[in-house]
């Protein structure tokens, strides 16, 4: 279900695409959830066991910090908040197809924006950790002839990351629509019997694997660039 909003301001007509509206919906839902968890955390006194929601959130934070420690090293735990945000946003965005809405990540602008954030983070962290001279020399690392190849591989990183997420999400929605129309034309009774398994693989499994892949690749590229000295 694609939703668009058109409105006119000062004689310019603006059309908001479905990706923007659904992204705002996700942000509002996550914000309400965060405010709820914050209120529960403030009520916990030291020495007594917290309730289930706080325990689940503690488990999540510990797991993300362990993941960042194992992938990037012990001294780089300060990347953990960004990785946790990326994970939560991508999990909600990719699973929005289960509610019948259009996923924001099946719009190439959204995935390109996320990949560009990673690209800026990679080079900014590289410059900040090694200094500008070592960072620039790192492009000519094995021999000076490798300079154009290294530059191309730097540009290929955000392009491949954005295309991977976009292609998987878009093909998931297209294939689900096609299979449901095939099932409907065979007989209407097969739709509730076979349909949920199709949704289980193409929506849930592919969505979760792709969020994990995106976060892991972000962490691996950043730590590779920072280790280059």
């Amino acid at each position: 279900m694609k939703a668009t909003i058109k409105f006119t301001i000062f004689n310019h007509s603006i059309k908001l695409s479905g990706a923007a509206i659904n992204s705002w919906l996700i942000v509002v839902a996550i914000s309400i959830f965060i405010i709820l968890v914050n209120r529960k955390i403030k009520k916990v006194k030291a020495g007594e066991t917290p309730g289930t929601l706080v325990s689940i959130m503690e488990f999540f934070v510990e797991k993300v910090e362990d993941l960042v420690r194992n992938t990037m090293g012990d001294n780089r735990v300060y990347f953990a908040p960004y990785i946790a945000t990326l994970l939560i946003f991508l999990v909600f965005a990719n699973l929005l197809g289960l509610l019948g809405l259009e996923t924001p990540t099946s719009n190439y602008s959204v995935t390109l924006a996320l990949a560009m954030i990673t690209f800026v983070m990679i080079h900014f962290s590289g410059i900040r950790s090694a200094g500008v001279k070592k960072y620039l020399k790192g492009f000519a690392k094995p021999t000076a002839v490798m300079l154009p190849i290294n530059l191309i591989s730097e540009i290929a990183t955000p392009i491949s990351m954005s295309f991977r997420l976009f292609g998987n999400m878009l093909s998931g929605t297209v294939i689900i629509a096609l299979i449901f129309s095939v099932l409907n034309s065979i007989s209407i009774i097969t739709v509730p019997i076979i349909g949920p398994f199709i949704n289980l693989y193409f929506d849930v499994f592919v969505g979760l694997v792709q969020t994990f892949i995106f976060s892991m690749l972000t962490m691996v590229f950043i730590s590779n660039k920072m280790n280059i000295n």
Partner: protein
């Protein structure tokens, strides 16, 4: 005899191109199956490293899948966005 109109010709050739582009999905299928076989061997040799092996395998397969996704992107571009029609 009337020839074929140029719009129909461009659309037909776009369809043929889209079909050939999806042939690029053969590569990742072979490669990822081979990698999964190697991962099964590694788990059989050392069952306590199972979660590390699975994590590495999923990561490697998702990176190798990208070339198959490129073929799908070209096919979807040719069929739905139809860029060659604007060049007419």
């Amino acid at each position: 005899m009337d020839g074929i109109s140029s719009e129909a010709f461009v659309l037909g050739c776009s369809a043929i191109g889209a079909g050939i582009a999806v042939l690029a999905a053969a590569g990742p299928g072979l490669g990822q199956g081979y990698a999964a076989g190697k991962a099964a061997e590694a788990v059989a040799k050392q069952p306590e490293a199972k979660s590390d092996v699975i994590q590495t395998m999923i990561l490697g397969q998702a990176v190798a899948e990208t070339s198959g996704i490129y073929g799908l992107i070209i096919a979807i571009l040719l069929l739905i966005v139809r860029p060659l029609m604007q060049a007419l």
